[in-house]
């Protein structure tokens, strides 16, 4: 189905099942531990040997000697795979560095060997016997030092956009502005820290490879793994029904999958590999650190006349940008605009996507800058944003937003949160020993359209089976795809079964960039439209008149049970949603207002989040229960980004020091209060027949700055370098009276 004109009324609009807060259909499996994850496939690979990965202990250089003899002789060892015996391997299209190093080492903890043994204990013990000698080379590891040599990348922002943009005369307008802000912010390297380690079980059948893995993007993964191994794509099957968190880290094939495949080939039996937790941070990808300079000029009336945003980030040679300025091109009005991104070469592990790449760190900076500017202007932070709202793409006023309810998000949020109690002068509100502050920020994330396929089957019992290579990374895909099929076919949710995460099924958009829900359900919508036509044709109904409801198809005075229409053989339909140019004609984006209240101990500086509210406008909400969970989870990650999360760089040896879950601090129960989420009523007929967009990343965008602004409002101490840890503000707290 080609979606190239805005959606009219369609069966989804009935909202009998879509839009209802139903509980996840995979809930009983997940809560009983019976949902199978990648390393747990005793059912399909009962005799799998265990692989343990050895990581490089230099950041850059060459392996001069690699002695595996002791490991090979160790008890239980079946095989040791290194670049020397793995055969030719190509780099994946989606990887910057090779997944198996040798002789060149490109980053710390890049895999240099896989030790395969009968048991995990044997593999781990033998891995410690692999002896590697290196000739280390010099590298660049410090973004602040490397930024002067950073360049404008030839491939632009890596997503088809330019690295630099300019409208009007930014420099002239900024210089002439009566009120100006020119400030520099920094965000640190961050790690996804999903709970399930990167893990794969691989088995060969002749030259056919099956990998049970934990991957967000089945089709990309299959292509890239085939490419790495030099196999035709159709010889590789990826199966990933349950994914223990991804957050962008599992968008691509990583060392676990490749090494499991190589290990299984060498061992002549299935092999499973989980990257051990202390290896993950430096072996895999991370969100790159940024340094961002923001300049805003405004009239005394609060209207922005000039807005400039420049960002620096680093990556390995051949890598890409953290696109931290992109939201600034679209978010606020202002006639004179400038954005720029510069890429430094750093020899740290590979930088890549993490939840809301670009916007998450970009808004952490921009939305502090907006808070600072509002204060300079003496305008309430909510009003300052309302004043500079724009209904059109500010770089191209001929291009409207498809929907833009940002002001409504802010107004409703302010009302519900009690923003009228916000004291514009910081450090004024005390409750006992606590300094209390409120902060807010805007959330913004674009809606992305990706083609997505699905197959639906109707059987003789009247049951519907949805099959697509879509993934559920905790987002609720199983449930919303079932809701879509149930709504379309007029059956109850209990009549729908959903099969996901298998590359032998129709290729899907996968999970990333908050595009999964809208595109994957639209693929199911397209397949269901075809199936409805099949049913109508079989029954001799006019498909335009046929009504699918209560397990029946009705037309005129005839009503036939779906089961009967399916016949003994059943009916099957497959289709793919594809998109025209609506996203070019209309800017499709999602919006939020984030509100946070902080309490900071006046004496110790201990900062706690007390209240959080997000008001989101993001198209049709397909399932308010799972959508809300996406948003509260993202808000939680935003608290981590604001207050705790930082990969500490060893700038001498070039690695992330705190490479486990004790050293890299993510929010825990005690850090997170009850969270409130409100979704505005919205449908976006330009986005898809579902009229939905996405929320999974919107929920994160802006949260860090809302926390930072609340902490400033509580204490009067402005910190521009994330995370806002105690050491950065305790010495600047007001004297304890």
């Amino acid at each position: 189905m080609k979606f190239d004109t805005p959606a009219a009324d369609n069966p989804i609009d009935q909202l009998k099942i879509i839009g209802q807060p139903v509980s996840r259909i995979d809930g009983p499996l997940k809560t009983t531990g019976t949902a199978p994850y990648a390393y747990e496939r005793h059912d399909v690979a009962p005799n799998a040997a265990h692989g343990f990965v050895v990581g490089a202990t230099i950041a850059r250089g060459r392996i001069t000697a690699l002695d595996t003899s002791a490991a090979e002789a160790a008890p239980g060892v079946v095989a040791v795979v290194t670049a020397a015996n793995a055969g030719p391997l190509k780099k994946g299209n989606n990887n910057t560095a090779l997944l198996l190093a040798g002789p060149e080492v490109e980053h710390y903890h890049q895999a240099v060997a896989l030790v395969v043994a009968d048991t995990f204990e044997q593999a781990r013990a033998a891995a410690a016997l692999v002896k590697v000698d290196y000739a280390p080379a010099e590298g660049a590891f410090d973004l602040a030092k490397a930024m002067d040599g950073a360049v404008r990348p030839e491939k632009g922002d890596g997503m088809g956009g330019a690295a630099d943009t300019a409208v009007g005369d930014f420099h002239g307008a900024f210089a002439a502005a009566p009120v100006r802000l020119d400030a520099t912010y920094s965000t640190p390297d961050q790690t996804h820290a999903m709970m399930e380690p990167y893990a794969s079980t691989a088995a060969w059948d002749g030259d056919r490879l099956t990998v049970w893995t934990s991957n967000q993007m089945i089709e990309w993964g299959r292509s890239d793994l085939a490419r790495m191994l030099g196999l035709p794509k159709d010889r590789v099957r990826l199966i990933s029904p349950y994914i223990g968190g991804g957050f962008g880290g599992k968008l691509f094939i990583r060392a676990d999958a490749l090494l499991a495949a190589l290990g299984a080939r060498a061992a002549g039996r299935p092999v499973k590999v989980a990257l051990h937790r202390p290896l993950i941070v430096n072996n895999t990808t991370h969100r790159p650190a940024t340094i961002q300079r923001i300049r805003i000029g405004a009239g005394r009336d609060g209207r922005i006349t000039a807005i400039g945003h420049k960002s620096w980030s680093g990556d390995l040679p051949g890598g890409g940008l953290e696109t931290a300025v992109n939201q600034t091109r679209l978010l606020y009005a202002g006639a004179h605009r400038l954005t720029a991104m510069r890429l430094a070469t750093l020899h740290l592990p590979e930088g890549n996507a993490m939840r809301a790449p670009g916007e998450a760190p970009g808004l952490m900076a921009l939305e502090i800058a907006m808070d600072e500017m509002a204060e300079k202007l003496g305008i309430d932070p909510v009003e300052f944003r309302v004043l500079n709202d724009t209904e059109r793409d500010p770089e191209n006023p001929d291009r409207p937003f498809s929907q833009r309810q940002l002001v409504a998000c802010l107004r409703l949020g302010a009302e519900r949160f009690g923003w009228s109690r916000h004291n514009p002068k910081p450090g004024q509100v005390r409750e006992g020993d606590q300094l209390i502050g409120m902060g807010m920020a805007v959330g913004f994330r674009n809606n992305l359209l990706m083609k997505s396929g699905a197959r639906v089957r109707l059987d003789a019992e009247g049951r519907v089976t949805v099959e697509t290579a879509m993934t559920d990374i905790g987002t609720g895909s199983y449930t919303i795809l079932a809701q879509t099929a149930a709504e379309m076919m007029g059956v109850g949710l209990d009549k729908v079964r959903v099969v996901l995460g298998d590359s032998s099924l129709p290729a899907s958009c996968g999970s990333g960039g908050q595009w999964g829900a809208n595109n994957a359900t639209s693929g199911v919508y397209a397949a269901c439209m075809k199936l409805r036509e099949e049913v109508a044709r079989t029954l001799g109904f006019n498909s335009k008149e046929a009504v699918f409801a209560d397990g029946e198809v009705r037309a005129g005075n005839r009503a036939v049970p779906l089961a009967q229409a399916a016949g003994a053989e059943g009916l099957t339909a497959e289709d793919t949603i594809e998109y025209g140019d609506l996203a070019k004609r209309y800017q499709q984006s999602t919006f939020a207002g984030h509100f946070v209240e902080m309490a900071v101990d006046a004496a110790t500086g201990e900062a706690r989040v007390r209240r959080m509210l997000a008001v989101c406008a993001a198209g049709r909400i397909l399932n308010p229960k799972t959508a809300r969970s996406q948003v509260i989870g993202a808000m939680t990650m935003g608290v981590g980004a604001a207050l705790f999360e930082e990969l500490a760089v060893d700038t001498r040896h070039g690695f992330f020091v705190n490479h486990d879950l004790a050293g890299y601090e993510v929010p825990v129960h005690a850090d997170i209060p009850h969270q409130e989420v409100i979704f505005l009523d919205e449908t976006d007929p330009t986005s898809s027949p579902m009229k939905a967009k996405g929320v999974g990343e919107l929920g994160l965008c802006g949260v860090g700055a809302a926390v930072a602004n609340a902490l400033y409002n509580a204490t009067g101490v402005r910190v521009r370098d994330y995370p806002i840890t105690l050491d950065k503000y305790i010495h600047r707290l007001p004297e304890v009276g």
């Binding site: 996840r24 009983t32 994850y37 820290a193 399930e196 990374i473 996406q630 509260i632 879950l661």
Partner: protein
């Protein structure tokens, strides 16, 4: 056993022999629990452990290095208990041992001779959910599902801890009966990381179950 080893190996053998004796003496019917033949000076050894898992007595020969977590996941194929970090940092591997929750990754299987282990599979099944499992579904107290078995085992044990008046870091009065406040729940559950960030919903699920019990 060979006698040509250095002092380190001798010390290891002493420990092994001690462990084997302890295991053997506690086994029903005097079953022998000799370490498996050592294939070399650095080779691993095996021993038999007997424990109760979800009400079933299990007698298993394990590599002495095997954690309780890997015994469950690999030897017994009870994969509901998750390995998130293998270092006691995330709580995904939480199980209940003799009524108290522990990180099963921080504990060797052999240390649990004669003990009773409850895993997520022992709490309920998809067709017959434990009230805590049902509450997690109702309140959407999970997303990816990987930390979920650990959260649920922890939550069940937390309610028992509070009922037994075992204080936590945030308990104000150590002598009074403990009130199950949200602060108590959050403090006690903080060893169970959920990166998807379902905390707000998890607390609501636990409150609901606690309320139903009260």
């Amino acid at each position: 056993m060979a006698r040509s080893h250095d002092l380190d190996i001798n010390r290891r053998e002493v420990i092994l022999a001690g462990a084997a004796t302890a295991v053997a003496s506690s086994l029903p019917g005097g079953a022998e629990a000799q370490p498996a033949a050592l294939p070399g000076a650095s080779g691993p050894s095996h021993a038999t452990v007997s424990l109760t898992v979800n009400g079933v007595i299990r007698e298993i020969e394990v590599d002495t290095r095997t954690t309780l977590l890997d015994l469950l996941r690999e030897n017994l194929q009870l994969t509901g208990t998750k390995k998130g970090c293998d270092h006691g940092q995330c709580g995904a591997c939480t199980v209940i041992v003799d009524g108290r929750r522990i990180n099963s990754c921080l504990s060797l299987a052999l240390m649990h001779e004669g003990q009773s282990i409850t895993t997520i599979e022992g709490l309920g099944t998809p067709d017959q959910l434990h009230p805590m499992q049902a509450a997690f579904v109702t309140h959407d107290g999970y997303q990816c599902g990987y930390c979920t078995p650990g959260q649920i085992c922890s939550a069940v044990a937390v309610l028992a801890e509070v009922k037994a008046d075992i204080p936590s870091h945030v308990t104000d009065d150590l002598t009074a009966p403990i009130a199950l406040t949200e602060a108590e729940i959050r403090e006690r559950m903080s060893g169970n990381i959920c990166r998807c960030g379902a905390y707000s919903n998890i607390v609501e699920a636990i409150v609901e179950v606690a309320g139903r019990r009260a």
